[in-house]
């Protein structure tokens, strides 16, 4: 997979040398950071044998809540409120999935619709402007040569990696995704851990939503359309198995890089956004097909 990413970069770089400029690379990494955070949350959901279709709509809800609270209570409160909103939406998902035992696909599909509706209702369909200028730094600023969102995303990846590979929670996530019935029979409190999975996904979406809001310095109830699908694509393209139990932070990172470089590269060579979607769709199917073909040969 790293070879693929380098290959893509070389191809695009040769067509448009601007690809390699510091500005462009900074842009790419900044643009990818939102998807990266969503994909991290999605990784937890998919690894555990579930899925979270609501992360795109959560961006909108988080954006609106963050902006509204920020205007009344200030910068820090707004940021905290935004992340918290994501966590609460995730908790709602978790309760419905773990306690009411609704399949994750359906539960998060419902949240996808509901969260978008909530965002539109809370905001009246209108964007919320007038946020403090310093907020923009979160989305547009730099730490040294690195855009702040990129730094946050990298930190998030590191944290997620530690959780998944070195904690009880992480191990149980893999176990649930690998064989849920066996997990129950092995004494794992599957219901509680599932809830934790969706809260985690919601918190990552909350963080992503706050950063995105900073980038456009306004609360926008229409953000995030289709992003949930890209987050799933990132997990799967990198090698994660959609039924759970296989994958991780590394594979998701690969998927994010592929999508990010493709998107940026195709923009630089002026390919329409519609065609980009076709390409990404083809890659998703192709990547999974290659995986399954390998499985079947065993």
């Amino acid at each position: 997979m790293p070879a693929v990413i380098v290959a893509l970069a070389v191809v695009f770089g040769s067509i448009n040398p601007n690809f390699w400029s510091a500005t462009n690379l900074a842009n790419v990494s900044r643009q990818m950071s939102i998807l990266a955070l969503l994909a991290l949350g999605q990784t937890f959901a998919i690894l555990s044998g579930g899925i979270d279709l609501s992360v795109g709509s959560m961006l909108a809800l988080v954006s609106v809540v963050c902006a509204q609270q920020m205007k009344v209570y200030g910068l820090a409160a707004g940021i905290a409120a935004g992340v918290l909103a994501g966590g609460l939406a995730g908790l709602a998902n978790g309760l419905i999935i773990a306690k009411a035992r609704v399949p994750p696909f359906i539960a998060t599909l419902g949240m996808l619709v509901a969260a978008r509706g909530a965002a539109l209702t809370l905001s009246g369909g209108l964007p919320i402007a007038g946020l403090p200028r310093q907020f923009l730094t979160l989305g547009a600023g730099y730490i040294g040569p690195f855009p702040i969102p990129t730094v946050i995303a990298v930190a998030a990846f590191a944290l997620a990696h530690v959780i998944l590979s070195r904690t009880l929670f992480g191990r149980y996530v893999y176990a649930m995704g690998s064989n849920e019935e066996a997990a129950v029979l092995s004494g794992i409190n599957v219901a509680n851990y599932k809830m934790l999975v969706y809260v985690t996904s919601g918190l990552f979406a909350g963080l992503a939503g706050v950063i995105l809001t900073a980038r456009v310095i306004s609360g926008q109830p229409t953000l995030g359309e289709v992003q949930e699908l890209y987050s799933i694509a990132a997990v799967v393209i990198g090698g994660g198995r959609i039924s759970g139990g296989v994958g991780g932070v590394g594979t998701t990172l690969m998927g994010v890089l592929v999508l990010g470089i493709l998107g940026n590269g195709l923009n630089l060579v002026q390919v329409s956004s519609y065609i980009q979607n076709i390409v990404i769709g083809a890659i998703i199917v192709g990547a999974v097909w290659i995986d399954l073909a390998r499985e079947r040969r065993r």
């Binding site: 070195r166 904690t167 009880l168 064989n179």
Partner: protein, 503 residues
């Protein structure tokens, strides 16, 4: 044993079928004549299921020949079998529940009004279905949705379907397992009608009284080998049992004799509507209590209830004399109870986790220091178990999926050893594993009880039960119908109890 001079419609000779680690059929032969009802008998694991699946085209034999009407036949898949006139009715019906009877019977062969457009001629469909059903004197509405029919009627639809395929040989696998006695009578009537039409039936069943009632001849298998073919009319049930069972038990079971200590587990009146009917027994330290019984006796459900995996309507569980409430597997583990499940693929092993991760999973908390897992400690512990249980794996990080069945079972057992349990519930502990691995599991069980654990072992292999248990409980229909001490137990009296419910 000459029934008649009719030529056999099916002859299977010298059928050999191997699976990784086990020889399921070792030169088995079977001869079926037109119009006869031929029972196929044997214990669990004798090879009956493998044999019928080979004839039905689901498996390919590694050696041997099948002849239809005297001519050698190659049955590469179920379709080939169907074309040759062989139909199989499994325990799990293969009907489409949301389609009608008529649609099911003629699925894939519907009469078409306009061939090019695949438009079905509904009237012809219903008419022909009526004909088929009438020929069996069945009062079933061809347009009824299958889902709304009772089990017995669904079975009739399966039989009608086989007939409509011009089956000359119908294999029925445990056909009466889910029928009431009234429905069984109807089934036998139908079989009678089939006989009149010259259709042969291979009847696989444990219920020897029924076999006596319906079969002409019976073939007995044991341990994958052909034992004998008898005329049912002139063979008693006892004789049949003896043929099914007789073998040497010596030395395949490294039994350790341990003086039993205090009571570890006592259950009283475990009841769950429709499933458990007041199960009571006790197990002492150092004891291996075997639970025998046939499929459907609800032995697995008993173990799961004790382990907290299934709910109970009433009943009490005592550990060391004190009542405990075990509502979830986590409760069970906290009370030092372990369950090694019957279906390891679905309930025991984590295929996409490494051997190490599997082994440490149930006791993972021991390795958590300040929130982080001590991977080195995990590796050390996993290595200990892999060595002591002789799990064949090149390294600890290999996915559990890549191990053989026997080694997977050892990994599952290792997982439970890691939880410091003192009561082990083993459900079919050696199913699907090779002889060498089996012996190691037995040795392990011996070690456990010598160190003070108590074991409940559910098994469908009589030799195993007899070889390893200190005491044997026999279950039938959700209750315990008999108990034998090691010295008094024989295969015959166990099987008798299991089959007839008489203690």
């Amino acid at each position: 044993m000459d029934i008649g001079r009719e030529a056999p419609i099916l002859q299977a000779e010298g059928i050999v079928k191997r699976f990784p680690g086990v020889v399921a059929l070792n030169g088995v032969s079977l001869e079926i004549r037109a119009g006869e009802t031929h029972a196929l008998l044997g214990e669990n694991g004798a090879g009956k299921s493998t044999l019928i699946k080979t004839i039905a085209g689901v498996y390919h034999p590694d050696a041997g020949e099948i002849r239809i009407d005297g001519r050698p036949a190659r049955i590469r898949n179920p379709h080939d079998a169907q074309v040759l006139g062989i139909s199989t009715i499994y325990q799990e019906f293969t009907l489409a529940p949301d389609m009608s009877v008529a649609e099911n019977i003629f699925l894939g062969r519907e009469p078409l009004r306009i061939r090019a457009l695949s438009i079905v001629d509904r009237r012809a469909l219903v008419e022909r279905t009526r004909e088929v059903l009438a020929s069996l004197d069945l009062q079933i509405d061809p347009e009824a949705t299958v889902r709304h029919l009772g089990v017995a009627q669904q079975q009739m639809v399966e039989i009608a379907k086989a007939l409509s395929l011009d089956a000359r040989l119908i294999i029925m696998d445990e056909p009466t397992a889910t029928l009431t006695s009234h429905e069984i009578d109807r089934l036998f009537q139908t079989i009678g009608r089939l006989k009149q039409r010259g259709v042969a039936i291979v009847y696989v069943s444990h219920r020897l009284e029924e076999v006596k009632g319906i079969a002409d001849r019976a073939t007995i298998l044991r341990d994958g080998a052909y034992v004998a073919t008898v005329a049912v009319a002139s063979t008693t049930i006892d004789e049949m049992i003896r043929l099914m069972v007789g073998r040497d038990l010596k030395d395949k079971f490294p039994k350790v004799n341990v003086e039993p200590g205090d009571e570890v587990l006592r259950v009283e009146g475990l009841t769950r509507k429709g499933i458990l009917r007041g199960v009571s027994f006790r197990v002492r330290r150092g004891e291996i209590v075997g639970i025998a019984g046939l499929v459907g006796a609800r032995r697995t459900e008993t173990a799961r209830a004790i382990f907290g995996a299934d709910p109970l309507d009433s009943g009490r569980i005592f550990l060391h004399g004190k009542p405990v409430l075990v509502r979830t597997p986590a409760d069970a583990i906290a009370n030092r109870i372990a369950l090694v499940p019957e279906d390891r693929k679905r309930h025991g092993i984590f295929a996409s986790l490494s051997v190490r991760e599997n082994v440490v999973l149930s006791g993972l908390r021991q390795f958590s220091r300040k929130g982080l897992l001590d991977l080195r400690g995990e590796r050390r512990r996993a290595q200990e178990f892999v060595s002591s249980l002789r799990v064949a794996t090149p390294d600890l990080e290999k996915w559990a999926r890549d191990l053989s069945g026997g080694n997977q079972q050892k990994v599952v057992i290792a997982k439970w050893l890691n939880t410091n349990a003192e009561l082990f519930l083993f459900d079919e502990p050696t199913r699907g594993i090779d002889v060498g691995a089996k012996i190691e599991v037995y040795r392990l069980m011996g070690e456990l009880v010598s160190r003070g654990a108590a074991i409940v072992m559910i098994s469908s292999e009589l030799p195993e039960i007899l070889g390893m248990s200190d005491r044997i409980l026999v279950m039938r229909d959700g209750r315990i119908c008999g108990e034998f001490a090691r010295a008094d137990a024989t295969e015959e009296n166990i099987l008798n109890c299991a089959l007839r419910g008489a203690a």
